[in-house]
């Protein structure tokens, strides 16, 4: 398996929280996750699974080095990780070509490197005809394509993908999925956040499930998704029966350890069946 590969990122019992105002000049910590440990191996593609607000995006930011953990240790052996598709760097009044430079430098390329890859980026995004027009005239699909193309050619050591596989038209979605598959086949390290089980199963070789700010399990995508979907289903049914929201049930103290909850319900099912 992948276990023999070199570790490129390690988080050891890290906690990340945001300060929330709790009164005049006073604030409390609102923890996104606590005591979370995770390893990332060279060349693997890791999926992070969890409900909305479980801390997936925050974890991505810690891996990318955008924010720092409040507690715990982090070790990383790469200098350049970026979130794929960076449309935030676009200056709308400027042309597509000018924006390739503006976003490219943010993604860690030098102007020289961008110049060398310029034609490839334009062709891949398929915007040759509009390349000298201001980006403000682009459709959202064109902008997504341009952003994705710049990011792909910036060749970061670690690629972080946060639900980006839904961008552009059908044709480009296929093309971008293809590009990501190619990256995965090469020695590219990829971290995925996605709600699409099909894509996770197809593209990732390991998955990690985060719930209530803790790692519930780490295994193959199929195994993790099986348990994850089972837990989601259980919580959905319970929520319906007792008239509460699914998130309330998920956060309830009985369900702090989702695997135990699953065991409990599996046993219950068996009893009912037998």
């Amino acid at each position: 398996m992948i276990m023999k590969r070199k570790i490129v990122f390690t988080a050891n019992e890290i906690s990340v929280g945001y300060k929330v105002k709790s009164g005049f000049m006073r604030s409390d910590m609102d923890w996104v996750f606590q005591d979370l440990s995770i390893d990332l191996y060279q060349g693997e593609s890791l999926a992070i699974v969890g409900r909305n607000g479980a801390g997936k995006s925050t974890l991505m930011k810690v891996i990318a080095g955008i924010i720092e953990q409040d507690k715990g240790e982090v070790e990383r052996s790469f200098s350049n990780a970026s979130l794929l598709s960076l449309q935030a760097g676009f200056v709308m009044a400027l042309s597509g070509e000018e924006n390739i430079y503006l976003s490219g430098v943010l993604l860690g390329m030098t102007r020289k490197e961008i110049k060398l890859r310029l034609n490839e980026i334009i062709d891949y995004a398929d915007i040759r005809r509009s390349i000298n027009k201001p980006v403000s005239t682009y459709s959202s699909g064109m902008k997504a394509r341009l952003g994705f193309s710049i990011a792909i050619f910036s060749k970061p050591e670690i690629v972080l993908i946060d639900e980006v596989l839904g961008v552009g038209d059908d044709e480009f979605r296929e093309k971008s999925t293809e590009a990501i598959k190619d990256m995965i086949k090469s020695d590219q390290t990829v971290v995925f956040v996605s709600h699409n089980p099909q894509i996770i199963k197809e593209l990732c070789d390991r998955a990690i499930w985060i719930e209530n700010g803790r790692v519930v399990m780490t295994s193959t995508p199929t195994e993790v998704l099986k348990k994850y979907q089972r837990f989601t289903m259980i919580c959905g049914v319970v929520a319906k029966n007792i008239g509460k929201t699914t998130s309330d049930v998920r956060l309830h103290k009985n369900n702090i350890d989702p695997l135990k909850t699953i065991e409990r319900f599996d046993a219950l099912d068996k009893k009912n069946a037998g």
């Binding site: 924010i67 009044a93 400027l94 943010l106």
Partner: protein, 252 residues
Amino acid sequence: MNKYLDVVTTRAMGDLKSTNRESRLGALWWVLDPLLYLLVFYFVFGVFLNRGGDGFVAYLLIGLVFWRWFESSLHQTSSIIFTYKMILDQVYIPKLYLPFIPVISNFVKSSMIVAMLLAYLFIFEGAVLSQIVWFPVLMITQLMLILAVGSFLAALLPFYPDGKNLIGYGVNLMFFMSAIFYRIDDMPEDIRYIFLINPLAYLIDAYRGVLMEGQAPALVNLVMIILASVFVYVISLFMLNKYDKHYPKILN
């Protein structure tokens, strides 16, 4: 290092290129904009209030041009971390590079206006050349002052977002206290010390001395401003560095 140099220059160039790109007259606004700005003040103080008398137009223009450079730079630099909020949420950029982006773009823009001003002064106002060597020294000093104050506010404001509202008032106050459209000599003597502690009042006065009277600037003040700028800038660097990965969190 080279990487971030490219970030700064490319983003600064983007700033410059995007200015007025969407307007009909485009690049012409680069000249029109400062020209109209100067005309407004010239009309109010030179014609309408008929102040100052001889040489007042040159006096007023010098003050306004260098004030405008300071004001527009400070405005953009102090809020640079807010401006880059979305980007900083997705890629890591050491925050200490960010202030250079608006400082450089505003320097380029202002340099063109300064060139226009110099041309005007030499052609129509009989500017003096004897102390002109001091002119670049003054500009570099002002550039350092802008970088220092701008970076300091940029580092501080994310912690006190309300301060953004106060900066406008502070800048306004400074404008009226910088002896731009009146003469320090016309002020009562017991309040003149205020102009001595305002670095911009000193700089504007020094520009006027160098350009119109062939007078070298007072060295003590100049050195003081440079030292103070270096000191403030070092504090800013320390803060930007210390809270480098904290800023993206508090901007949410």
